[in-house]
Amino acid sequence: MRNDIADRRAETGESQADLAAAVGVTRQTINAIERERYDPSLELAFALAAHFDCRIEDIFEPAE
């Protein structure tokens, strides 16, 4: 799935490790999501949305 997590991190000045720590996964998982090589579970998607204070669909959109 396409996502704008990298952009959101850039806005907040967070590293991948910071975000990973905040949502309880490894930095490698955040990296894989940003590179669109891994689609997160609903639970993680909700955690990411809560972290960025937005809705899941604001972050993710299906790849065509």
């Binding site: 720590a21 949502v23 309880g24 996964v25 997160p40």
Partner: protein, 138 residues
């Protein structure tokens, strides 16, 4: 969800530490086995090896954080499926092929061939039971 997010602040570093402990225990057990074999203390070596494996299991079971995240689980599931597929081909094609070659006298099958066959058979029986169980549960 907020609990999930808030309590996760120190998780990765803690997870890494516990993973190192878990794999360290297993590694120590394996090393102890080889050292004990070299010193002709095989029983002691096996005991230490088991202790290392048990220690790893206990750390994984009782660590205060989950040692593997969801991507690890996904990778593990995909790798398991690939492994089962690869050995399905070996089992389906290799076993009859080997038996035919033995029957025609082209080769004499070694003892390990039959052992490997029964091992693969057992794996797929367990796999079938596991699939049935999870189908029943979901």
């Amino acid at each position: 969800m907020s609990e999930h997010t808030a309590s996760a602040t120190t998780r990765p570093s803690t997870r890494k530490r516990y993973k190192r402990i878990a794999y360290g225990l297993l590694g120590a057990g394996i090393a102890a086995l080889f050292v004990a074999i070299a010193l002709d203390r095989f029983v002691l070596g096996v005991a230490l090896y088991w202790a290392g494996g048990l220690g790893m299991g206990l750390v994984q079971r009782f660590s205060p954080v989950e040692l593997y995240d969801e991507r690890d689980s996904t990778i593990d599931r995909k790798a398991s499926q690939v492994t089962l597929n690869v050995f399905a081909y070996v089992f389906v094609l290799g076993l009859p092929g080997g038996l035919v070659l033995a029957e025609t006298g082209a080769v004499t099958l070694p003892g390990w061939f039959h052992g490997a066959t029964w091992t693969l058979f057992a794996i797929y029986v367990v796999y079938g039971v596991a699939v049935g169980y999870h189908k029943y549960r979901s």
